[in-house]
Amino acid sequence: MSPVLIIFFVLAGLAVLGALNLVLQKHPIHSALSLIVVMVCLAGLYLLMGAEFVAAVQIIVYGGAIMVLFIFVIMLLNAGEEEHTDFSKIAKFAGLPLALALTASLAALVVKPGQNVHGATQAVIPKATEQISTMLFKDFVYPFELTSFLILVAIMGALVLAQREKK
């Protein structure tokens, strides 16, 4: 068992635990924290795969911005424990089995039986960050610019939504 594999299993285990916790916790803050754990673990996995840049962005944007935003909103709205209502019968009875079925089928599909599980995978991509940047600013330049527009729109939308209309 190579150290890399060990690290992988540790991180993966943490991630799954975090995800589970996200489901099980009653209070949004705790869910948020567990989600942060998941994200950090994923960042670690990215590092493990040699996707340093993505890892950093993952933490900076997801961990540092989005989740902070979530927590901020939770604090702002002072959201308490979630009430345990069960108005939706279908969710109450069929929800869990269906979701689990989805998980199972996904898992079954990604791990194809009969195929060599220890299949050779690429080593770390050299100079990934540089490649990403060239790709972003050459091949994907228009989508990239479009995303900036998207962000702009999102900002405006958030402003319009969240500000109290002045009397």
């Binding site: 924290l33 840049f53 961990g63 902070v68 927590i71 901020f72």
Partner: protein, 420 residues
């Protein structure tokens, strides 16, 4: 046994380095508090601490003890887990940040092992630093939320909003440097700055940006934006709204006492140090010396500065009131003087020359960091705290646009100079 050591040398060395670094940083933190109190006191024409030890030099130790032995109450109705998690988070993150900071270029060679002056030197050091800074919001925010108290909550809200806002400016202001350095690795960034035009060291720094590539766009604006938003990131005056004592008692750590409070404390000061280091590395050429390499004297400046300083300490000690001071200070002073003299001898003795070579960059690095730390304290001593809306205005309407403009101009200049 030896074999084992040989095999796992890397791990062992790393662990030792970490321990050492922790020790140093914590000590520096402690004395930073002393320094801060002294400076602020003198700014306000007071004496500051001077009872515990000569010039109150043992004050930090006393404070430490106090922190340890104070009662540690946990308020009612707090969210226990988060309440305890917050300080750890804050401290851990701020200490982790130090791991990627390089303090000097050349390694010490011990037992055939090269020991570099950094714990790790990843290619994306800067990104990692920012990642950690980004995460460090949680400590404050969670603390504020978990304490189940209005003041804390407000403090937490403020800090999270503030940190998110200034993170943008912080990141953008650095992009200029990145454009010129073409890398995320801190050591490489420093290396890129070490070629001042005509061998004049400081011209090569990004703040002047007059390196071997000719004059690029000096990052003065970048630096100003960076340092301002860095102060805000570390919740220091004049941006210390999260702990604005006049409005929120003590903000997010109102409900924390004794050691948990100490953790926030240490975290804050460590963050200061990190930021100062970062400023040094990014804009002031890290360990690059001011003077041209060609001069012999350049290599001996640390030693040379040590000698008069030592002499001054001796003089100061001799006219100190307490017996203790009369004894200790001259001794310390003499030690300094002696070391300085011996090292200076290195000009004629080869191995000592090596030592000088080794010390010099570290000296410059620490010197610059010290300047920034002083700046922190100075700002705190002089500037009034901003109002919240002012804070937001500065962050969004001033720093962010300026830093973006800085990026654009820098990029333009680089393109124009054709050093892409």
């Amino acid at each position: 046994m030896i074999a084992f050591l040989q095999q796992n040398a890397f791990w062992i060395i790393t662990i030792v380095k970490i321990a050492l670094l922790l020790f140093i940083v914590l000590t520096v933190n402690a004395y930073l508090t002393w320094f801060e109190r002294k400076v602020v006191a003198h700014i306000q024409s007071r004496w500051g601490p001077h009872r515990v030890g000569p010039h109150g030099l043992l004050q930090p130790a006393a404070d430490g003890l106090k922190f340890l032995f104070k009662e540690d109450p946990t308020p009612l109705g707090v969210d226990k887990f988060v309440y305890y998690l917050a300080p750890f988070l804050a401290l851990a993150l701020s200490l982790t940040a130090l791991a990627v900071i390089p303090f000097g270029p050349d390694p010490i060679v011990l037992f055939g092992q090269k020991i570099y002056l950094w714990i790790t030197n990843p290619d994306i050091g800067l990104l990692i630093l920012f990642a950690i800074t980004a995460l460090s919001v949680y400590g404050v925010a969670l603390a504020g939320w978990a304490s189940n108290s209005k003041y804390s909550l407000l403090g937490g809200l403020r800090s999270s909003a503030q940190m998110i806002s200034y993170e943008l400016a912080l990141t953008m202001s650095v992009v200029g440097v990145l454009l010129m350095a073409n890398t995320f690795s801190l050591t490489e960034i420093i290396e890129k700055q070490s070629h001042g035009v005509g061998g004049v060291g400081f011209l090569g720094w990004n703040i002047f940006a007059w390196g071997k590539d000719g004059l690029l766009f000096p990052q003065i604006f970048g630096f100003i934006c960076f340092f301002t938003s860095a102060i805000a990131e570390t919740n220091r005056a004049p941006f210390d709204l999260p702990e604005a004592e006049s409005e929120l008692v003590a903000g997010f750590h109102t409900e924390y006492a004794s050691f948990k409070f100490a953790m926030f404390f240490i975290a804050e000061y460590t963050a200061m140090i990190t930021v100062s280091c970062l400023a040094t590395i990014l804009f002031f050429g890290g360990w690059v010396s001011i003077f041209p390499d060609s001069w012999t004297i350049t290599h001996y400046i640390p030693s040379i500065t040590l000698i008069p300083f030592g002499l001054w300490v001796i003089y100061d000690g001799l006219k100190y009131e307490t017996i203790f001071g009369k004894l200790v200070l001259p001794a310390v002073g003499f030690a300094m003087f002696a070391i300085g003299a011996v090292l200076l001898a290195g000009a004629w003795i080869a191995p000592l020359h090596q030592v000088n070579e080794f010390i010099q960059p570290v000296f410059w690095f620490t010197a610059k960091v010290f300047v920034f730390l002083f700046f922190y304290v100075w700002a705190r001593g002089t500037l009034p705290r901003l109002r919240y809306d002012q804070l937001m205005n500065v962050g969004w309407k001033l720093l962010l646009p300026v830093s973006i403009a800085n990026v654009i101009v820098t990029a333009g200049v680089i393109l124009w100079r054709g050093h892409v």
